[in-house]
């Protein structure tokens, strides 16, 4: 009787493991999936005109037009520049972010009304981005060096089979600079695009949900796609913000000169012309 029990228990254990691992067909880890996503869709540069729409709990709508520039250089340093274009009274407000290896995240704000630059402290990246439901950090690309990724059970999202991955900061120093204890990410198994992210607080409370839709092929990187619409819902505040990419061009290497404080302070008309020319190429 005893001899019989051992193989039964072993079989049950194996079955449980299979169940818990979702009968995975492969040995993809969370990190590998993220790496695959970045390899397929990660972009080293972006120039986009976006519309940011915020809806409050009473349905009031606020629309702003923003120019977004992003660059990741060969040292993997990431630069981001957001420059408001509309409405007129905030035109020229710009936020420059830099993230270099081993260095603290830097943010510099330029306000044309004051004609002055202001640095924003490190914890500022988890603050809301200019009156929207997006935090500054939500607008940055995924950085696998700063998070650890654990794969969960596969899931279906609107008919698409997805990998689910939980991302948590790798250490407390990074954890203290992010507004989320963890993020649950849904990545399409078919094309490795991120479809949805749930953001959780340190109390494990669902804070926000980000959904990506209207994917378009990226000109400049074969096989890469990019969501032209991202919708962030803040569950606690019952507000929603949307980012819609109206125009964009990617993988342009010659934009580094925009990412310095001087260019913020003295934004030149020729910069606008340059960007217009670049964006015109996207048509």
């Amino acid at each position: 009787m005893k001899a019989l029990k051992t193989p039964v228990y072993a079989a049950l254990l194996i079955a449980c493991c299979l169940v818990l691992t979702g009968f995975r067909k492969d040995s993809l880890t969370g990190r590998k999936i993220i790496d695959e996503y970045l390899s397929r869709h990660g972009l080293t540069s972006k120039i986009e005109k976006i519309k940011m729409v915020t809806l409050d709990s009473r349905g009031n709508v606020d629309t702003k037009e923003v120019l977004r520039l992003f660059l990741e250089d060969e040292t993997h340093a990431q630069y981001s520049l957001l420059r408001f274009l509309n409405p007129e009274n905030i035109r020229g407000v710009a936020l420059l972010s830099k993230q270099r290896e081993e260095e603290e995240y830097e943010q510099v704000l330029y306000m044309p009304a004051l004609e002055q630059l202001r640095k924003i402290s490190g914890s500022g990246q988890k603050g809301y981005f200019m009156g929207s439901d997006f935090a500054y950090e939500d607008l940055l690309p995924e950085n696998p060096e700063r998070y650890e990724y654990k794969r969960g059970l596969n899931d279906y999202l609107e008919g698409a089979e997805c990998y689910t991955i939980t991302a948590k900061p790798v250490d407390d120093s990074i954890g203290s600079n992010t507004g989320y204890a963890k993020r649950d990410i849904w990545i399409s198994q078919e094309d490795y695009t991120i479809l949805k992210i749930d953001f959780f607080t340190t109390e494990n409370q669902l804070l926000k949900t980000l959904r990506f839709t209207q994917f378009k092929m990226v000109v400049g990187k074969e096989g890469a796609t990019l969501a032209s619409r991202a919708e962030m819902t803040h569950h606690l505040k019952d507000t929603t913000s949307m980012i819609a990419v109206t125009r964009g061009i990617y993988q342009k290497a010659d934009i580094k000169h925009f990412f310095n404080e001087e260019s913020l302070r003295n934004w030149k008309t020729e910069y606008d012309e340059q960007i217009r020319d670049i964006l015109d190429q996207s048509n």
Binding site: N89, L109, A113
Partner: protein, 927 residues
């Protein structure tokens, strides 16, 4: 009335079955009764202010919050902050039982702290991470206690107390249609209990920790109501049972009022549930009132029944018939005045008082129905319990007590009725200073003042108010065009208005969008205090606004920037002072110093405080209607305007003294005390009516005011004293209530019932003794009146009312036998009608006395002098003792003016009499 009572007695079984069915149905309905204790009950059902408030809620969000107050001398130390953070996290976790409706938690860990220094700008929460070293913690404490947006709203000035505010997600508007949703009540309890469960885990970790806010207040008030019901009702019931049992010496009699009260309470609760009237902080005392007030009628009824049961030698149906005939009218009249007394309190726009008025009026009506419907049926079945006692006592009701009250009645007659002038003067001397003190009564409509000041709830709120800010929130909304409140010009005005209001000591915090922008401006320049100002450029303002998520500023400016909202918090609870502050805001805004402004001042506290005017109006309306009702009843009863006026004046004396007591003791006129005057008149008038109905009946029998008053006092003094003491005792039971207005209502009502007794026994008899209530009509008696009407040619063709009118304008003259009434040759303008006795008409002709005629009952004479204003033409003297009605020309003219139809009939009859006399004279002359 007597028919209903005797019917119920006869048909006892069907009546009891019907009563049982009705009660079961009402009990079934009562299961759905709602409990509603929110401050919405203190608001008018509809008002323009309420519309403003709802508009402000729609634009700037609800002010409904729960809060946890934490105080610790070492608050800014790593250990305590860590524990506080854990508390914050637990409260923010919507997965916790009861916290699903928490929208967000505002605390030192979540509120954005805009700080700038050395070219850096920090916009994150003040304490997102807890520093480990003391210097950094001290820096955070300094930042917190110097940030104008945080001080007194999140952190105390000394940094030792903090508030964790839970914004609740309740569907708005919660006060739509004046009926707060059950959902809101459920949410209150869920949140309160959810927070309390969490706080239990943190007890002892801080110097002080407790929950305040709307859910805590509502739930604790609801608990107080339930506690009161469990305590007050049995206490009142016990008191009533003892009082009645002792006064009537019958256990059965002591049970009956309790049964009556129980039935009428169940019917009332069923009625409330059916018509959607919630149980609130005022009408929850109605069951106790039903018991207390209703018992007085039962005492009157049972006392009479018991006595008549003895007189009728155990014949219960006869005793019921006699009792119903004796007390029927009084029962109806007192039921009318009591029901109207309570109903009059609903003449107000304040929902809670309306609900009270409706509930109490219907409760008293049901109580009356139980007395006339259920009680006789019950007596039929339980009569044997009564009879055994009655036989033993043999109708010796009262015994020594009766002798005492008889002596008291004699004393009143000897000392009071004999000197009415002195008594009236004495009461007037009391009333004059009373009027002065009555004018000093303050108005108040504050929910917090409803709770005992020593209660834990009030102590908690007081502590939080002292260390942080008051619980009263005012929205001052300035209106403009879209985009206005993004411009420097308008925002500078807002800043100036805000600065002006911050100078008012009673305002703990005044926060507007201008403060947010000033703070950003200051911090953008490294925390330079001189930069705490609105920037000059509109573009700078638009750019500063980018720092804020819409939800950060939605309480201060609307989406299109056409309205700016100042959120003012104050600790002022007194409604009069609060209203004064609101007027002060208006004065400042309308002074022109800040440009022309279109604005509204609103908030739940504003609505509640502004309703004090409604209390005053309601007081006048309810008092006026009760006085009017008393006046009408008394006028009809005694056919005397003066009598009606005196009854009202006498009862108003109690009201004046009531207000004087309130003025001297500083008891405000609130939703509770405002009901005392009208209810007291309603109840106090019961005794007045018992006394007056009896007086009226004795007048008819005895036809002498003094004797009738004495007899009425002898008969009514004991029941009036017993019921008044019972009422006072019952009302005093309400002083054990957890609610201050109910306590005040109980104590004042008890005092005023005693006052009403004093008035009924001293002032009312004194005033009544100055009126001649016995009319000629009464004196003549029914039989004599009818005979006279039939026999007198003067009254030919007249209705009973017309005859009465004529007689009431006449004078009754009594003559001795042989007395001369008219002398030949005298001038006179009166005519007479013989009411009783025989008269002889003689004339001396040529020295000889000739009898011309003999006059008996109904005959008229003297009409020639009346009509022609000439000398009398004959002698008339009485042959026996006689009574005559005399009427003069002026009285006839008065009838002509006021009743031309009656005058026509009189003149016609006079013409007939004159014609007949002329024909008789002519006939005699021809002979």
């Amino acid at each position: 009335m007597w028919r209903l009572i005797t019917f119920s007695h006869r048909q006892a079984i069907p009546v009891l079955i019907l009563t049982g069915l009705l009660t079961a149905a009402a009990g079934y309905l009562a299961k759905n009764l709602r409990l509603e204790v929110s401050s919405d009950q203190l608001l008018p059902r509809v008002s323009s202010l309420k519309q403003d408030y709802e508009a402000a809620l729609a634009e700037f969000g609800s002010d409904k919050i729960a809060a946890v107050y934490v105080e610790d001398a070492d608050l800014f130390t790593p250990g305590i902050l860590k524990r506080l953070r854990e508390l914050n996290d637990r409260l923010s976790d919507r997965a916790q039982e009861g916290l699903s409706s928490v929208k967000r938690v505002e605390s030192i860990f979540t509120v954005n702290n805009i700080q700038g220094s050395d070219g850096w700008l920090e916009t994150g929460p003040l304490l997102e991470n807890i520093p480990s070293d003391t210097a950094k913690i001290e820096e955070k404490r300094h930042q917190a206690t110097t940030n104008p947006m945080l001080v007194r709203s999140v952190i105390s000035e000394d940094g030792k107390a903090t508030l964790l505010t839970l914004y609740l997600n309740v569907d708005e508007p919660a006060i739509e249609e004046g009926e707060p949703s059950q959902k809101e009540n459920d949410v209150d309890r869920e949140v309160y209990e959810g927070v309390e469960r969490i706080l239990e885990e943190f007890q002892g970790d801080f110097d002080d920790i407790f929950q305040i806010g709307s859910p805590a207040l509502q739930v604790r008030m609801a608990d107080y109501i339930i506690k009161d019901q469990r305590f007050l009702l049995p206490l009142s019931g016990l008191l009533i049972a003892i009082l009645i049992g002792v006064s009537l010496r019958s256990v059965n009699a002591s049970v009956l009022p309790l049964l009556n009260a129980l039935l009428s309470t169940v019917w009332t609760l069923g009625f409330m549930a059916y018509f959607g009237i919630p149980l609130n902080m005022l009408n929850y005392v109605v069951p106790a009132l039903i018991l207390i007030v209703g018992a007085t009628e039962d005492v009157h009824f049972l006392a009479e029944y018991k006595e008549l049961r003895g007189h009728s030698k155990g014949d219960s149906p006869l005793a019921i018939l006699m009792t119903s005939r004796k007390v029927g009218l009084t029962l109806i009249l007192t039921a009318i005045t009591t029901v109207f007394g309570f109903a009059a309190t609903s003449i107000t726009e304040i929902q809670g008082m309306q609900h009270f008025g409706h509930t109490a009026a219907i409760g008293m009506f049901f109580r009356f129905m139980a007395t006339v419907f259920f009680l006789p049926a019950y007596l039929n079945l339980t009569d044997r319990f009564f009879s055994s006692k009655t036989k033993k006592e043999g109708g010796d009701h009262g015994g020594w007590l009766k002798q005492k009250t008889d002596r008291m009645a004699q004393g009143i007659i000897d000392n009071i009725v004999s000197h009415p002038g002195r008594i009236i003067l004495l009461f007037t001397l009391f009333a004059i200073p009373g009027l002065y003190y009555a004018s000093t009564v303050q108005l108040n409509n504050d929910l917090l003042s409803f709770l005992r000041q020593e209660s834990q709830t009030v102590q908690h709120i007081r502590t939080a108010t002292e260390r942080l800010s008051g619980s009263k929130v005012v929205y001052l909304t300035i209106k403009g065009n879209p985009g206005d409140f993004k411009t420097a010009r308008k925002l500078k005005q807002i800043k100036a208005i805000g600065d002006s209001l911050k100078a008012i000591e009673e305002f703990d915090t005044v926060i507007s969008i201008a403060d947010y922008l000033c703070l950003v401006n200051q911090e953008m320049f490294g925390g330079d205090k001189a930069r705490y100002a609105i920037p000059d450029k509109d573009s700078a303002i638009a750019q500063y606004l980018l720092f804020f998520h819409r939800s950060d500023i939605e309480s201060y400016v609307n989406a299109d920037y056409s309205q700016a909202n100042m959120v003012i918090r104050t600790h002022v609870n007194n409604s009069t002072r609060f209203n004064g502050l609101m007027e002060d805001i208006s004065r400042r805004l309308e002074s022109g110093r800040y440009g022309p402004q279109v604005y509204t001042i609103t908030g739940k506290a504003v609505l509640v405080s502004s309703a004090v005017d409604k209390i005053a109006i309601s007081q006048i309306a309810s008092l006026g209607s009760m006085a009017g009702l008393l006046f009408i009843i008394t006028c009809v009863l005694f056919v005397s305007l003066r009598c009606g006026i005196y009854a009202v004046v006498a009862n108003l004396f109690s009201v004046i003294v009531l207000f004087a007591i309130m003025g001297v003791l500083g008891i405000p006129l609130n939703v509770g005390t405002c009901m005392v005057a009208a209810i007291t008149i309603g109840i106090g008038v019961d005794d007045t009516l018992h006394l007056m109905v009896r007086y009226n009946r004795e007048l008819k029998n005895l036809k002498d005011e003094k004797k009738a008053l004495h007899q009425a006092l002898r008969d009514e003094l004991l029941p009036v004293l017993v019921t008044s003491l019972g009422l006072s005792g019952g009302f005093l039971m309400l002083s054990f209530s957890s609610f201050v207005p109910v306590q005040q209502f109980g104590i004042l009502s008890a005092v005023v019932v005693i006052l009403a007794v004093i008035v009924d026994l001293i002032l009312t008899p004194a005033l009544l003794s100055t009126i001649r209530l016995i009319t000629i009509w009464d004196l003549l008696g029914l039989g004599l009146r009818n005979t006279l009407r039939e026999r007198s040619s003067l009254f030919q063709g007249m209705s009973n009312m017309q005859v009465k009118k004529f007689i009431l304008l006449s004078q009754l003259i009594e003559c001795k036998a042989g007395e001369h009434i008219i002398k030949d040759g005298e001038w006179g303008n009166e005519m007479y009608v013989v009411v009783d006795g025989d008269l002889e008409v003689t004339k001396v002709i040529e020295g000889k006395k000739i009898t011309l005629n003999e006059l008996t009952m109904g005959d008229a004479f003297g009409e020639i002098a009346l009509m022609a204003r000439c000398q009398r033409t004959a002698d008339i003297h009485s042959r026996s003792d006689a009574k005559l009605l005399s009427i003069d020309w002026e009285s006839l003219e008065k009838i002509q003016r006021t009743s031309p139809r009656l005058a026509t009939k009189i003149y016609l009859n006079l013409a007939r009499i004159l014609g007949a006399r002329f024909a008789r004279s002519a006939n005699q002359m021809s002979k």
